[in-house]
């Protein structure tokens, strides 16, 4: 049930990301024709601009990984997004990333710092499997100290058990 909701949300956000991309390209007038990135236009962009554009698209695809209770296992639905982040970082070894790990509010705040680090490191491990160098990655665990949702319900907790990819 929950999984279905998440998958739906993911598909939705992906299709929205695609829309946004299209719109941007159409709107800019000089950069494309409205059907994705034109090869000529892309070649005219500076490398830095291209990288920024790629990063923007990656962020739109998703930069938050949610976890099950008391788990640091990354659910399969995140494989593709994390692969994209990993390939991007591997192609740009000068690019750094900070992965923030978070937990819900239950239990010991100190132990939750440890759990949050496990989550951040689980994401780091996947990125490294795509060739990202350890020196590009910093993990920071905030435990339960920075909830995304301040509520005390199951729904709030699900929003708070997360790792965030911060460029």
């Amino acid at each position: 049930m929950k999984l279905i909701t998440l998958v739906t949300a993911l598909v939705l956000s992906l299709s929205m990301a695609a829309c946004t991309t299209t719109k941007t390209n159409t709107g800019s007038g000089t950069e494309g024709t409205g059907s994705g990135i034109d090869a000529n236009a892309a070649s005219q962009m500076s490398a830095a601009e291209a990288q920024a554009e790629e990063l923007r698209r990656l962020r739109e695809q998703g930069k938050i990984v949610y976890f099950d209770f008391d788990s640091n296992v990354i659910r399969p639905e995140y494989n593709e997004i994390l692969a994209n982040h990993g390939q991007f970082l591997a192609q740009h070894p000068e690019q750094k990333i900070v992965i923030n790990g978070h937990t819900d509010e239950r239990g010991s705040p100190e132990y939750n710092i440890g759990l949050g680090e496990r989550r951040a490191k689980a994401v780091a491990t996947i990125l490294m499997s795509h060739g990202v160098q350890p020196s590009q990655i910093e993990t920071v665990s905030y435990g339960e100290e920075r909830p995304a949702d301040a509520g005390h319900s199951e729904e709030s907790w699900a929003q708070n058990r997360r790792a965030e990819l911060m460029y």
């Binding site: 239990g107 010991s108 710092i113 440890g114 680090e117 920075r146």
Partner: protein
């Protein structure tokens, strides 16, 4: 009925008392061991002067005693009379009201912002001649019934402080244990509508007189007091990563003592003040280290692939208690700093964490998950028996008064986080601090005087 029981108890106490040199102690130990709190009354202090004090001393003292769960102070309305000196006490009426001990006092204005406070602690049943009182109802003259009498001169801003000192005297006289009411509490207040949302405060133990020590846009957590009460070690994320700092709160000087890669967390001062136990993940995963504060050298205490955190010293400083999930779930372990011998300490339930040891080393207060949620509990170390102290279900961060009598912890109320206080015997529970924002990470100071 109650009265008869009490008289019987007193008689028993007296018999024992005469057979030992430590008269008062045996008597009070026996009363404390009974399954009832000691009935006391703190009569309203009589005020002689013009400028009425801003604080009600009797109320502060009564609240202090009540919070330990070892006393049941009478409400003003239930008091048979309002004496302000021992000489005014009508013993018969207080005996009928089933009050064992009575605090009476007065405040005399001496001049502008100058007051004299007198108080007496009265044993209603008397040291000698409880029987005589019963036969004749004759008033006993001062001395024999007065356990303690003191006079002090204070300024107008010192009423609360002095009231806590009176509570300390009364508590120690009646239990044989040093009072912990003149202590302080550090905690974090989070107000997300402020730019510097995370604020470290220090207040009286009961939450009065809060003073802000530090404010930051990023989290502050895990304050721990130095044994001299002058410094706090805590974790700050103000540089967007965890760092352990030591902050001299009265000089407002700060220094970073740990900013390694990964986690720098859960600092805990050793009882001798020379070292800091803390958690670092610089070597791969969270482990406990001891930092010698003079040399800053590190000694690794645990070394497993699991999470080890929340180091807490035994009162003698020889043993560290900590949380580890090396067995799959968080449980409390102990390790001898001399031998390295390590053992698991908690066996009840699937989640035990946040240990702190009582001053006598016999009990441990901890965070314990039962089938209704996360609770503050107390474990008898000899038997392993766990007693749940709280009725709330999202509890965390227990911190114990330096005499072991009370526990303050964070919990949730509605959408907010608040601080609650529970007596170590579980008989008293109450909200302590709540209101603005979320309150987290309470840390009780050591004795300060």
């Amino acid at each position: 009925m109650i009265l008869r029981n009490l008289i019987g108890l007193v008689g028993f106490g007296l018999t024992l008392a005469f057979s030992t040199a430590t008269f008062a102690e045996s008597k009070f130990v026996i009363r404390g061991a009974a399954d009832n709190a000691i009935p006391v009354a703190v009569a309203p202090f009589r005020f002689n002067g013009m400028q009425v004090p801003s604080e009600n001393l009797a109320r502060v003292i009564g609240d202090d005693l009540r919070r330990t769960g070892q006393f049941t102070p009478k409400a003003d309305a239930e008091m048979p009379q309002a004496p302000s000196t021992a000489a005014e006490v009508d013993y018969g009426r207080w005996r009928q009201a089933a009050v064992d001990y009575l605090v009476v006092g007065q405040v005399n204005e001496l001049g502008p912002d100058q007051y004299e406070v007198r108080f007496e602690l009265v044993d209603v049943f008397g040291r000698q001649g409880g029987a005589g009182l019963l036969q004749g109802g004759q008033l006993m003259t001062g001395g024999t019934n007065v356990l303690e009498a003191r006079v002090a001169r204070i300024g107008g801003d010192a009423f609360r402080r002095y009231a806590h000192q009176i509570s300390d005297v009364v508590y120690e006289k009646l239990t044989g244990v040093r009072g912990a009411f003149s202590t302080r509490l550090a905690y974090v207040q989070v107000e997300m509508n402020l730019r510097d949302a995370y604020q470290l405060f220090v207040a009286d133990y009961d939450g009065s007189n809060p003073q802000r020590v530090r404010a930051s846009r990023m989290p502050i957590m895990s304050p721990s007091w130095s044994p001299d009460g002058q410094k706090l070690a805590y974790v700050t994320f103000e540089n967007r990563r965890s760092e352990v700092v030591i902050h001299s709160i009265y000089q407002n000087q700060r220094q970073v003592v740990a900013n390694f890669k990964g986690i720098n967390g859960a600092p805990e001062w050793s009882p001798d003040g020379r070292s800091l136990a803390l958690v670092l993940s610089k070597d791969g995963n969270p482990d406990i280290y001891l930092m010698d504060l003079a040399s800053r050298s590190l000694r690794r205490v645990t070394n497993t692939p699991a999470i080890e955190t929340e180091p807490s010293f035994s009162p003698d400083g020889q043993t560290l208690y900590f949380t580890s999930d090396r067995g799959g779930r968080p449980q409390v372990y102990s390790t001898s700093l001399a031998s390295g011998a390590t053992q698991r300490v908690t066996f009840t339930g699937i989640y035990n964490a946040s240990p702190s040891l009582s001053r006598d080393g016999k009990k441990m207060v901890l965070l314990h998950r039962d089938n209704t949620g996360f609770k503050i509990a107390s474990q008898d170390l000899a038997s392993g028996q766990i007693s749940v102290l709280t009725e709330t279900s999202l509890d965390e961060s227990p911190t114990v008064a330096p005499n072991g009598s009370m526990v303050i912890h964070a919990t949730s109320l509605g959408r907010n986080r608040i601080l609650n206080l529970v007596s170590a015997n579980g008989r008293y529970r109450s909200k302590l601090l709540f209101g603005r924002g979320d309150l987290r990470s309470p840390a009780w100071s050591p004795f300060l005087n």
